[in-house]
Symmetry: C2
C-alpha cells in the first residue's frame, strides 16, 4: 500500500525498547507541534505537513511513528487529537511525576517558586540538603529534609525524578545517592557531567550552553527564537 503522505499512527503496543535515540528526541518535537496546531483549531495533519513544520522529510516522520506500529489513513489525514493522546501516553506526559530537589540553594528556591511544573504534570514533593544548618528550615513551604531520609521518601512517594541543584563538587555524590534510592531520572543543574553508569536517565541544564546558543544566533544575525521555527 502506498502511503500518500498521511501520518501513520502508533498502535497501542509496547515498543520493545528498540526506538533509536534520534527518533525518541523527535517524538517530543512532534508532540509540541501537534499541540500548537490543535490550539489553533486544526484537526487533521499529514506526515508531509508535520515533516515540513519540523524540517524533516515525510518519510522520516512516517518511519519515526512506525516504531509504535502503524495504520495509515491515506487521503484523509490523521486526527491530531488522537495522535497527541497516543504520544502523551508513550512519553508519559499523561501522568503525574513526583520529583525531589536536592540542594536548598538558589536553584532549588527558583524551582520551587516556578509555577509551571504543576500544570505540566510535575510535582516537587520534597527538598533535601546535607547541611545541618539548613536541614529543618523552610524553603518555599517545604521543610528541608536530611539526605538520610531520601530512600524512604522515594519509596513512599514513588519519586521518579531527582533534581540535582548542588555545587559541581557535590553533584556526583548526590547522583549516586539518588540512584541508590531507586530514582530512575536525574535532572542535573550542576555544571558537571555525571557518571550514572547507564543506570538511570539524565538530562542536564547547562546555562552556558543556552548562552552560547544565543551568542550563535546574534553572530549569525538570526532574530526571534530558533525554537519557535
Amino acid at each position: 500500500m502506498t502511503n500518500r503522505g498521511w501520518v501513520t499512527l502508533p498502535r497501542p503496543m509496547p515498543h520493545h525498547g528498540k526506538i533509536p535515540r534520534p527518533t525518541a528526541k523527535r517524538l517530543s518535537l512532534y508532540l509540541r507541534e501537534l499541540e500548537s496546531r490543535i490550539g489553533q483549531g486544526e484537526t487533521t495533519i499529514s506526515s508531509k505537513q508535520l515533516g515540513q513544520a519540523l524540517g524533516l522529510t515525510d518519510a522520516q516522520v512516517r518511519k519515526d511513528l512506525a516504531f509504535f506500529g502503524q495504520f495509515g489513513h491515506p487521503g484523509i489525514g490523521y486526527p491530531i487529537g488522537e495522535l497527541i493522546a497516543r504520544l502523551r501516553s508513550i512519553l508519559g506526559t499523561d501522568r503525574e511525576w513526583h520529583a525531589v530537589v536536592v540542594g536548598a540553594g538558589n536553584i532549588g528556591r527558583a524551582l520551587l517558586a516556578y509555577g509551571r511544573f504543576q500544570r505540566k504534570g510535575f510535582r516537587i514533593v520534597a527538598v533535601f540538603d546535607d547541611n545541618p544548618r539548613v536541614i529543618g528550615s523552610d524553603l518555599a513551604g517545604h521543610t528541608v529534609l536530611a539526605m538520610s531520609a531520601l530512600p524512604a521518601l522515594v519509596r513512599q512517594q514513588d519519586v521518579k525524578i531527582g533534581i540535582v541543584a548542588v555545587p559541581a563538587e557535590a553533584a556526583q555524590a548526590v547522583a549516586d545517592q539518588l540512584i541508590a534510592a531507586g530514582v530512575p531520572g536525574i535532572l542535573n543543574f550542576a555544571p558537571k557531567r555525571l557518571d550514572v553508569k547507564n543506570a538511570v536517565s539524565v538530562v542536564s541544564v547547562d546555562f552556558s550552553v543556552a548562552l552560547e546558543q544565543l551568542a550563535f544566533q546574534v553572530s549569525l544575525g538570526f532574530t526571534g527564537s530558533l525554537d519557535e521555527e
Copy 2:
C-alpha cells in the same frame, strides 16, 4: 569533483545572511563534536564520521558547511583544529560577550554564582532591578542598579546579551527595555513567550521543557544522557 566523504571547510567569507535555521542549529553540534574529538587526540575528520556521530548524512554535513564556501581535501580528511577555529569565528565563541542580568532574584543569584560563564567567554557586567528596596543592595559582588541606568551601561560596556530573570508578568516589559537599549540578544528564564517583533535574538530556558524531556527518557527506558550520544 567527487567528494569522497571529506569535510569541506568554510572559506573565510561572509555568509550573506542566507544560512537556513536548521543549518545554524547544527553548527553548534558540529563544534561540540569536534571539540570533544580534539580533546581525545583526534586530528582529522571526514564528513561521514562527523555525520555518523550526529545522526546526519555526510551529504547533509557537506551541504551545511558549504554555506560558508568550500574546499575539500579528498582522501586526507580535514584538520579538526582549523575547522574548530573557523566555526568558533562564525559562531562568535572566539570573543568575549558582555551580559547583564535583569532581576535580582533566585535565578539572578544562581547565574552570578555560576562559575562556568567566564571560561566560556561570557561576562556578567551588571545586575538590574526595578524594586527600590533592592536597588543599591549587593548581589554576589554586584551593586544592583536601577533600570533607568540600563541604556547608558549597555552603550558603555557594549552589552550584547540581556538575561531576563524576572517573574513571568514582568518579562515582556523588561524585554522591551532591553530592545530599546539596543541589546541584540535575550536569554529568557521567565516562563513566558516574549514578543520581540523579530528585532533581536531570543533563547528561552524553560525548566519544564527539561523536566519533560527527562520524563520522556524515563518513559521510553533510555538511560544515560541523550545529549551525549
